[in-house]
């Protein structure tokens, strides 16, 4: 068959090269449920690809992805880096002549992708739907509560609270090498984090393979060494993320940078503080008395912690406000996928600062309750990272690396 395509071009589908379409109806339904309910409105005018400040000349998006979504071409979408290169600026949705909201559809495809790459799949399925929220909350709430019960349901006297803080949340024993509270926290947090990291690594590797297949680069010219990979592809991508280069190109929802950037720095700050705290308390603390217990309010690391906590709440607050406003103005679809991450991060920030405040005012019962909720929200963030919107942390980073790799000498020869 020959189809005239204008300007004398023709697309030829030869007998032995029939394009075989396998629409996946369930996948279409899944995307519609995840906020892409408008995808069928698209009539392929391609306005979106041109107004998109992030799409390139050789690989424009999201027009093609809208078509793939309408046809339910799951494999094409899951292995398409463009889906993750999209930062949902919203310029496409603003200019879309049909109200098809390509930005929301791309978000829905990402939600579906995290779910499909997620392992174990029951956890990924669980974290993808708002109706499962009670279970999603119950898992960490019950876990932490049981740990606290087993450890002896300890609540300190008001007079000791200021000094010991939450360092004896899960009780105290005299075995200095591994304090009881550290033991209990490690007992559930390390497996949680390990699962999370494993799921993310597994997902990213599957994604990379699929992207390579789809882009036809599986037979590469020469493979980069791990060092070359990090140096040439991963590190420049991370640097770009930190600078928010692409985010800043957005026009329609430019103010999201004001939220996302402080939020990202807050996470970097908190990772540093956590690492320091682990090192100081659980390592140096073995040798130097006084390293246990809460840090002095005069410790510069404590300042970093507090600045980061404020930045976290501020950043996520800006994103919260922006999203509410976009939804109120009809510029974005309200989805569990978007809100769950905002809620989780807000919970981590508010309970973290709250627990510190209750310690300083000397209110152990309120403090312990808040600290309990803090542990719950931190565990949630860790546990659900690979399956919720938080997964963009890893998947987008590697998609950016893949984009560089795809155009590099390793592939092009």
């Amino acid at each position: 068959m020959r189809y005239p395509a204008g300007g004398g071009q023709t697309i030829t589908f030869q007998e032995n090269n029939i394009v075989n379409m396998q629409p996946d109806i369930d996948f279409i339904k899944e995307m519609k449920e995840a906020g892409g309910d408008t995808l069928k409105k698209c009539f392929q005018c391609a306005t979106c690809s041109v107004v998109c400040p992030l799409s390139s000349d050789k690989n424009p998006f999201p027009r093609q992805q809208m078509l793939f979504a309408q046809w339910g071409l799951k494999d094409k979408l899951l292995g398409d880096p463009s889906v993750l290169l999209c930062h949902q600026c919203g310029d496409c949705s603003a200019y879309c002549p049909r109200g098809a909201r390509p930005g929301d559809v791309m978000g829905a495809v990402r939600a579906a992708a995290y779910r499909h790459y997620g392992w174990p799949s029951f956890l990924a399925d669980l974290a993808s739907k708002g109706q499962n929220l009670p279970i999603l909350l119950a898992i960490p709430m019950v876990t932490v509560f049981i740990m606290w019960m087993i450890s002896g349901s300890h609540v300190p006297e008001a007079k000791d609270f200021l000094d010991i803080g939450y360092s004896q949340f899960f009780g105290h024993w005299d075995f200095k090498l591994l304090p009881k509270t550290t033991f209990f926290i490690d007992f559930f947090m390390i497996p949680t984090a390990a699962l999370s990291v494993f799921a993310a690594v597994r997902g990213v590797m599957t994604m990379w393979k699929k992207m390579s297949e789809n882009a036809g680069v599986s037979e590469t010219f020469s493979k980069p060494s791990p060092v070359q990979f990090v140096k040439e592809f991963l590190w420049p991508s991370v640097a770009e993320i930190v600078r928010h280069d692409r985010f800043k190109k957005c026009e329609a929802n430019q103010d999201r940078v004001q939220g996302h950037q402080p939020l990202m720095w807050a996470f970097i700050g908190l990772v540093f503080v956590t690492a320091y705290s682990f090192f100081a308390q659980d390592f140096l603390g073995q040798f130097i008395e006084g390293m246990h217990g809460p840090m002095s309010m005069w410790n510069p690391v404590k300042w970093v912690a507090n600045v980061a906590a404020v930045a976290l709440i501020f950043g996520v607050g800006v994103l919260w406000r922006n999203r509410s406003r976009m939804e109120a103005e009809g510029r974005a679809t309200k989805t569990f996928y978007d809100w769950f991450l905002i809620w989780m991060i807000m919970a981590v920030g508010v309970t973290g600062l709250g627990a510190q405040m209750f310690r300083l005012v000397g209110s152990p019962s309120l403090g312990y309750l808040t600290y309990y909720l803090h542990l719950v929200s931190v565990m949630m963030l860790f546990l659900y990272m690979p399956y919720t919107k938080f997964a963009h942390l890893v998947y987008r980073t590697f998609a950016l690396a893949f984009e560089r790799y795809r155009d590099s000498a390793y592939v092009k020869g």
């Binding site: 392929q44 005018c45 391609a46 690809s49 027009r63 002549p97």
Partner: protein, 416 residues
């Protein structure tokens, strides 16, 4: 049918091709017809075209015979510069209040043109979409009917007014003329209020004001017309460069819920027609047509097939969503070619926005008690004697409008 006393008269609002047709058809079966027009001339949008479908005739071809029929028919009373202010009453007996804006030139005018020669002040020529100037006292266009000058008094200094008055040998200029309100009793009303080209300045991503190389399809019609601002030359406004390449941007504002939600029906054919204008003048110019779908209803498809064989024309499936003004006076249009899946940046000397049809009546229709659809088109209510015709009813080409005018007349005479 109502038994109430009927006036037997029909009011036709709008004197373009639809209104003229409706008025003539109703009058020629014996009804009294009042034909009112907002502009100082009849003929509407057709008068502004260079050629029109289906036979690519110049507008003089179809309009002249209609004007002659109107002039010779004693059943038709015509009013220019007149608008409907309010409608009351019911089917068979409507009372309509109208207002005629002052023309400042009375029926003594012979269109000799002495006044315009004496006139020192100039205004943008609205008939040519501001592409050239005209004197503040002017004949709207060469074949204007009624053939009488119009004075834009506000644009004229007092010295200029004196000069204009002094130049008129027939005592035709009356600067004290006032707006006149009057009432008509009619049995039914045909709304043939037509359309306006969609305001291209609303297409913010195309930045039409960023370069004079960006024109609209209606400007193209005026340029191609012998009586237009360039005397029929298609050249880039501003520097009058002869064009070597041109891009047509289809669906500029149409099929877009941010602008006109509907397909304007005529723009694809208008572009094909304008390709012939370009080709007649520039046998080797490169022509690029950017489209979502090419819509060529009915037998117009043959016209498309013929033009698609043009070796120097390229059809690109993809809507232009960005236009960048270039330093040499040209523009670069940007689209994604949906067939190849790559973006295309095409530099051209000139670019034509195929803007669509917006119903001219707009919100005013509701105030007059008309039933309107969500896009501002009038919905006919024949049982009430309120009938829509032509582009007031839906976006349409000239011959569909003429058919629609005849159909409206048939309905109108039954209620009148």
């Amino acid at each position: 049918m109502s038994n109430a006393a009927k006036t037997g008269a029909v009011l036709v609002v709008g004197g373009g091709i639809s209104g003229l047709t409706a008025a003539l058809e109703a009058a020629e079966v014996g009804k009294d017809v009042f034909l009112v027009e907002r502009n100082p001339y009849f003929g509407g949008r057709v008068a502004q075209l260079n050629q029109y479908f289906p036979k690519l005739c110049p507008p003089s071809c179809g309009l002249e015979i209609n004007f002659k029929r109107v002039k010779n028919n004693r059943k038709i009373r015509t009013y220019t510069m007149t608008t409907v202010k309010s409608v009351s009453g019911g089917p068979g007996n409507y009372e309509v209040t109208l207002e005629t804006a002052p023309r400042y030139v009375n029926s003594n005018c012979t269109a000799c043109g002495d006044c315009a020669q004496a006139c020192t002040d100039e205004i943008d020529n609205a008939f040519n979409f501001g592409m050239n100037k005209t004197k503040a006292i002017y004949l709207p266009h060469e074949m204007a009917f009624p053939r009488r000058y119009v004075l834009n008094k506000n644009a004229c200094s007092s010295a200029c007014l004196e000069a204009v008055k002094g130049a008129c040998k027939y005592n035709a200029i009356d600067t004290d003329m006032q707006a006149e309100t009057f009432t008509l009793h009619v049995g039914s009303i045909v709304w043939a209020t037509g359309w306006n080209p969609y305001d291209s300045s609303k297409l913010t991503n195309l930045k039409p004001e960023s370069s004079s190389a960006i024109i609209t399809n209606m400007m193209m019609e005026r340029m191609a017309a012998d009586n237009g601002p360039t005397g029929g030359k298609i050249v880039r406004p501003g520097d009058n460069k002869e064009i070597e390449s041109i891009a047509f941007v289809q669906c500029a504002g149409s099929r877009d819920e941010n602008h006109l939600e509907y397909c304007s029906y005529i723009c694809c054919m208008a572009t094909f027609k304008q390709m012939t204008y370009v080709r007649e003048r520039y046998p080797n110019a490169k022509i690029y047509i950017f489209y979502i779908d090419l819509r060529t209803p009915g037998k117009y498809e043959h016209f498309r097939e013929k033009l698609r064989t043009d070796a120097n024309a390229q059809f690109i499936k993809g809507k232009v969503a960005d236009i960048v003004a270039e330093s040499d006076g040209g523009v670069t249009v940007i689209a994604e070619n949906a067939v190849t899946g790559e973006k295309i940046r095409q530099k051209v000397d000139m670019c034509v926005l195929a803007t669509g049809m917006q119903p001219a009546l707009g919100e005013q229709g509701k105030m007059l008690g008309l039933k309107m659809d969500g896009n501002g088109f009038v919905v006919s209510e024949p049982e009430k004697g309120m009938i829509a015709a032509g582009c007031a009813k839906s976006a349409a080409d000239v011959y569909t409008c003429a058919q629609s005018g005849t159909a409206a007349a048939l309905k109108a005479i039954q209620t009148a």
